[in-house]
């Protein structure tokens, strides 16, 4: 029973950490956003980025 509780607690922590920026360090990374652009196509806007008018 104790082991089951430990495993469930562990899984909960891992899932939570993957969803929550607060705990990303637990998974060995703390990057929230990035622009390395290697996966994007030359001549087109990058996929995770937007050039926008504003203010």
């Amino acid at each position: 029973m104790v082991k089951i509780i430990y495993v469930n607690l562990f899984l909960l922590l891992v899932i939570t950490s993957s969803l929550n920026a607060q705990n990303t360090w637990l998974l060995g990374q703390n990057r929230i956003a990035n622009g390395t652009f290697e996966e994007d196509e030359v001549g087109k806007p990058p996929r995770k980025w937007e050039i926008a008018k504003g203010g």
Binding site: Y6, L9, F10, L13, V14, N20, A21, Q22, T24, W25, L26, L27, G28, Q29, N30, R31, I32, A33, N34, G35, T36, F37, E38, D40, E41, V42, G43, K44, P45, P46, K48, W49, E50, I51, A52, K53, G54, G55
Partner: protein, 151 residues
């Protein structure tokens, strides 16, 4: 996207200015929405290179805003890009607003029409020395051991 120059790999993002409005906020190059938590330190760091054919200096503003109505900005910091070679710029700040699920990190770019490239743009938790480079896949037994020692 441009493959004529890059800091890392083969590609970078070239910002081509057509008209400068004099107000940096009038145009933005921004990343898609990300979650941030209040009362935590974050750092934006990136590499940039000013187009030597245009000028040696180029103003930009680091910007964080939300997608809520009126798109309130909650952090803004002007930087001067001052190199025609790849150079790293960074800024560390405290997010002193309520928890956010929809922050747009990026650069405000309309103050000048001088072209420049950016590459390796990162937003990470902590100061400049806290960045964990790349994605280091944690080993489950190691995490399990840490949890056991903490409880």
């Amino acid at each position: 996207m441009d493959n004529s120059t890059a800091h890392t790999g083969a590609k970078s993002l070239k910002i081509i200015g057509l008209v400068a409005t004099g107000n940096a906020l009038n145009a933005k190059a921004r990343h898609e929405m990300v979650p941030l938590e209040k009362a935590r330190i974050f750092t934006i760091a990136f590499w940039a290179k000013v187009d030597a054919k245009e000028a040696p200096l180029r103003k930009v503003s680091i910007s964080l805003q939300t997608s809520d109505d009126l798109w309130p900005g909650f952090y803004n910091k002007t930087l001067v890009l001052d190199s025609i070679e790849w150079k790293e710029y960074s800024d560390t700040f405290l997010v002193d607003v309520n928890e956010l699920n929809d922050a747009w990190p990026g650069l405000c770019i309309a103050e000048s029409d001088i072209d420049f490239w950016i590459d390796d743009f990162r937003l990470f938790e902590g100061g400049t020395g806290d960045e964990i480079i790349g994605y280091q896949k944690a080993r489950l037994p190691g995490i399990w051991g840490k949890i056991k020692t903490q409880h």
